[in-house]
Symmetry: C3
Subunit: 160 residues, 3 copies
């Protein structure tokens, strides 16, 4: 398969900040990269949480409140269902570990090692008061135009 | 870029009625239209809320109850997280305004001005008891077939 | 249209286990199959619920707890909004029935009759402790690679 897909493109908008969906996005991204596809991930809105370092963010009152309620970082984000204030995150992590599923921080690292391009949505960063210094290394900043350019040229493009 | 993408197609199913996701859909639609792409948006289920005028809808008991709990209209819909009975909507609107993000009603108008085609899913309208008179002007009514026809011919197609 | 799309491919990741989104996925899948497209659905994470038989699942303490809180089966899953412990499911079912919308179990059967391929994500099955015996008949088991192979070759690919 890798021969047939070499040089083909995939693009993924990571809009969700839920652990399960973000993991799904990275599993697909890593899978496509393993097929020698050229993969770009666009992190917008809640999806920025996946590529934050995990420090508290925000400058204005609303920005700080949002940073507090909605702390980013691959270690902190919870699943879309049954989180129950963090118990669900712990439960899923335990269940995944038992099955040797690669944890989210490692999936992110693996994607970077495989050359997946990470683009953070500038408008979302501004609205949510997340600065470049709040993001992990190796992330580019871009607008919707950079997504359209990739998506229109992709074999498949997903909104997650 | 606009030269390369001129005449290419994008299609978006707007299934979600959450303010943040609907805004994401319209930002992508407007971005693609700005690249001279031919863009079609299909509003189904909760996504119908985005193109409702905002009046209360429904005829049967369930229909009215749904119309009440789930009032449509670009001004009324709240974000997928942290809405807290409308506080979140107001907070995000304030944060977005501060960053000069185009508000949702203007994004919708801009999409129509740029020639984005709006199709409302007929089956969803029937189930949710939303009539053509409850929708903003310029919306076509269609079925799943009209989506498949566009999607199979699109450079990218998203489900939001 | 069916002539133009005959032999073309569509692929859908069903990640959500919410009744409304799962129905959306099957309506699109059936629509594409009716256009003679070659359709593959990948059921991962919560999406597995749609193709479970509906028995309680899980072996470990966490697995059983998850099976209890999150019972699968086309008859048991509720909508993404307004479920209220099952009332919403009943309300939507009633509203759909009134409009002669095909109920979910029949949509699933129709998809199988039209030759839609069902693939269950092996990693999700392991994590959630769902066995092959917990799934309806006619489902293949696969990994992310089988999705990438289909998606890279699809006219459209959706993440639902």
């Amino acid at each position: 398969m890798a021969d047939e897909t070499a040089g083909e493109k995939a693009s993924i908008v990571v809009f969700s900040g839920d652990m399960d969906k973000v993991m799904g996005a990275f599993i697909i991204a890593n899978g496509a990269a393993a097929f020698d596809m050229d993969v770009t991930m666009f992190f917008s809105f809640w999806g920025l949480k996946a590529i934050q370092k995990g420090n508290f963010t925000g400058k204005s009152f609303f920005g700080r409140m949002l940073g507090l309620m909605n702390r980013g970082g691959a270690e902190h984000i919870g699943p879309s269902k049954f989180n129950f204030g963090g118990i669900g995150r712990w439960m899923f992590k335990t269940m995944m570990k038992k099955q040797n599923v690669i944890p989210l921080p490692d999936l992110i690292m693996k994607a970077q090692e495989q050359g997946v391009t990470f683009i953070a949505c500038e408008m979302s960063m501004n609205v949510m008061e997340i600065g470049k210094e709040d993001l992990i290394d190796g992330v580019q900043i871009g607008g919707v135009g950079s997504y359209i350019a990739e998506a229109s040229d992709s074999n498949f493009s997903l909104f997650i």
